[in-house]
């Protein structure tokens, strides 16, 4: 793997991790306030979003591929990634006391919450990519202007189209 590729991958992973920590924290605040308002936590609870986000990031990274996937393969990988995250977090939740899985709503709310975070992550990622695309378009426009103004490419410009031999 080249240095540039590592750099791109690391930035992408870090960006995803930060995004997940934020979204999971927000989700825990909302769900906690709605469904379990009186619960009191120790400081250890602050680790939860960090750990859950790490699971989400690792699951996304191990199911990614360097190959250009078809839409079908891509969907299969995304669903696999979601199932790994759901499974891992539900397993942790059942064995820890930060999420009240003993209550009726506990597990469904957790599963739904993970799904919402998963979808939101992709929506936000799309908007980040759209911003990148806007920047690419601005750079492309400047590049084309530069080429038009000074490139030898114009020496070859043809008005007549291809000619037959």
């Amino acid at each position: 793997m080249t240095g540039q590729k590592w750099k791109t991958l690391s930035i992408r992973a870090l960006r995803l991790y930060t995004l997940l920590v934020t979204l999971i924290t927000v989700l825990m605040i909302i769900l906690g306030n709605l469904l379990d308002r009186d619960r009191v936590f120790s400081y250890d609870a602050f680790f939860s979003p960090l750990i859950y986000a790490l699971i989400g990031t690792v699951a996304t990274m191990i199911t990614r591929s360097d190959k250009e996937l078809s839409v079908r393969s891509l969907i299969i990988r995304k669903v696999t990634s979601l199932l790994i995250v759901e499974g891992a977090i539900v397993f942790i939740a059942l064995n820890a006391d930060t999420i009240p899985t003993d209550k009726n709503w506990g597990l469904p709310a957790l599963v739904l919450g993970i799904f919402v975070v998963f979808v939101l992550t992709h929506v936000i990622q799309y908007f980040i990519d759209r911003k990148d695309a806007e920047k690419l378009n601005a750079d492309l426009s400047r590049y084309q202007e530069r080429q038009m103004n000074g490139s030898p490419i114009h020496e070859y410009h043809s008005q007549d189209g291809p000619g037959c031999n």
């Binding site: 690419l136 750079d139 492309l140 070859y156």
Partner: protein, 148 residues
Amino acid sequence: MKLETRKIPESEPEMVEIRYHWITDEIQEIITFVKSRQGQLSAARDGKRFEVPVVDLFYAESVDDRLFLYTAADSYEIRMKLYELEDLLKNKSFFRVSKSMIVNLMKITSVRPALNGRFSAILKNGEEIIISRKYVPALKQILKGGES
């Protein structure tokens, strides 16, 4: 094949002469190279040979070990490998966007996000091609003024 080069006075035009018995793959390769240096590529369509101006090319795609050139409305087959063509056109605004495709950056109207970190490029003839994730960092660098 015998190679002969001769220095000539500046008053005479520079030229390349190829003497052949038959147009073999090797000869065709040399012709293609020389024409590409002049801004044209020798390619075939419907059994006829055409000179395709490089500036009219939108993209080139390798399909099942065959290489095709695409202009606004036509497609041609050229007898060379994609990496050879990429090398020939590297200083003419062509850029590798996927394992099997190079595109003329001057023919891109806009870029928009596609699935999974990829981008798609809308070409001036309305066609849409995918820019692989792997090539996006290099594209950004070139558009900012780096080398293609």
